[in-house]
């Protein structure tokens, strides 16, 4: 096979688990075990001699490309500065607050069916929701609503940009031919 080394590199690059020699052989339909092993060896040497940002590591019975430990501080810093994704639970809670505001914690928990105190605190810390006030009920429960930051995160001019359930229904079912 022409350029076996580069092809193996592309596989290792795109794989989320270590690849065994057998697996590589199967994917590329090569019979020659030595050819694959030679290519891996040559790739490992390239990574070292060319001072690349990553190296080839034999791990858990397979091969994997990994960033060089010398650069750990930078990679770590990059990972920390990534925007967070909201968990499913946080997304649900936020959706209830956005669509039902002004809303009580008990309303949120009633709809979700589980305690939501921790998630409310996280959303408050992120500045996506706020306490609009306290209701004159026993325990003076807090009333929640969304913030300007919420509008920024979702890139909306104001809350009237929120799609309604009717909007969603009118679109109909997702197109069946385009499953991911």
């Amino acid at each position: 096979m022409h350029n076996l080394k580069a092809i193996i590199e592309s596989l290792l690059f795109a794989s989320d688990t270590p690849l065994t020699v057998d697996k590589i052989k199967a994917i590329l339909e090569v019979k020659d075990r030595n050819a694959v092993q030679d290519a891996l060896k040559s790739l490992a040497e390239d990574c070292d001699s060319q001072e690349r940002g990553f190296f080839l590591r034999e791990v858990a019975g397979g091969y994997q490309l990994r960033t060089r430990p010398e650069y750990r501080q930078w990679v770590r810093r990059m990972k920390q500065s990534r925007p967070a994704r909201l968990s499913r639970a946080a997304m649900e809670t936020l959706a209830i607050i956005a669509y039902k505001q002004p809303v009580l914690r008990t309303d949120v928990e009633h709809l979700r069916g589980v305690d939501s105190g921790g998630i409310l605190r996280t959303l408050l810390e992120k500045g996506i929701i706020r306490v609009l006030g306290r209701k004159d009920l026993p325990g003076r429960p807090m009333v929640y609503g969304t913030t300007k930051r919420f509008l920024e995160v979702f890139d909306m001019k104001d809350l009237s940009d929120l799609p309604t359930l009717k909007d969603l229904e009118e679109l109909g079912e997702a197109w069946p031919n385009d499953s991911t």
Binding site: S15, D16, M91, E92, A95, Y99, D158
Partner: protein
Amino acid sequence: MDQQDQATYRVDLGDLFEGPMDLLVHLVRKNEVDIYDIPVALIMDQYMEYIKLMNVLNIDLAGEFLVMAATLAHIKSRMLLPVDQEQEEEEEDPRMEIVRPLEEYLQLQYAAEDLTDRNQLDWDVFIRCYGNGNERPDEEPDGLVQVSLFELIDAFQKIIKRVSPEHLFNITVDTISVKSRISEIADLLEGRGSVTFEDLFEKEVTKSQLIVTLLAILEMAKVQVIRIMQHVSSGIIRIFNA
């Protein structure tokens, strides 16, 4: 033919022609005719052949196909009318009715083909993949969040489907306008502590906006996030944070 057979022979129209424009483009290309000089009679005959064929094949014809058939028939009849000598210069070629949409449709077909030819992610090219370790934690130092509006409404719709019908509520554009106004009033109160009733209505122009503001104040009072007070002597109504 029993039910089973009918189902077997039913062909999805989408497999053949996406819509009437698609069929029309096919006919124009097949006959190698200039879209600016379409032989309407010929194209219409062939179009009708396809409609008949689709009927025979038991294909559900979308209404759009029949609308297009009517449009073609209309153009054909207008072309048969004698042209008034005096009006000839102003009279537009009746075929223009179909040429312009066809032109635009063709352009977009090329655009779609161009998109298809690109190196599509996860099909032609791949990036590093992190498997299940890709789940990003909730807690991040700078508190940035990355989500789309669609994910939000999708999450909401799933909740709605889960809860029992008696807890269902209507979310319409109107109720959302009220929520939006509540948010604005809360912003004002956060900044100033209190605001007069008049201030809130000052900038309002349309009747519906007046109503939205009033509904917002009423809802806020109902859940007791505001107090509404009236000054005894001046009669000015003021709204405070509760």
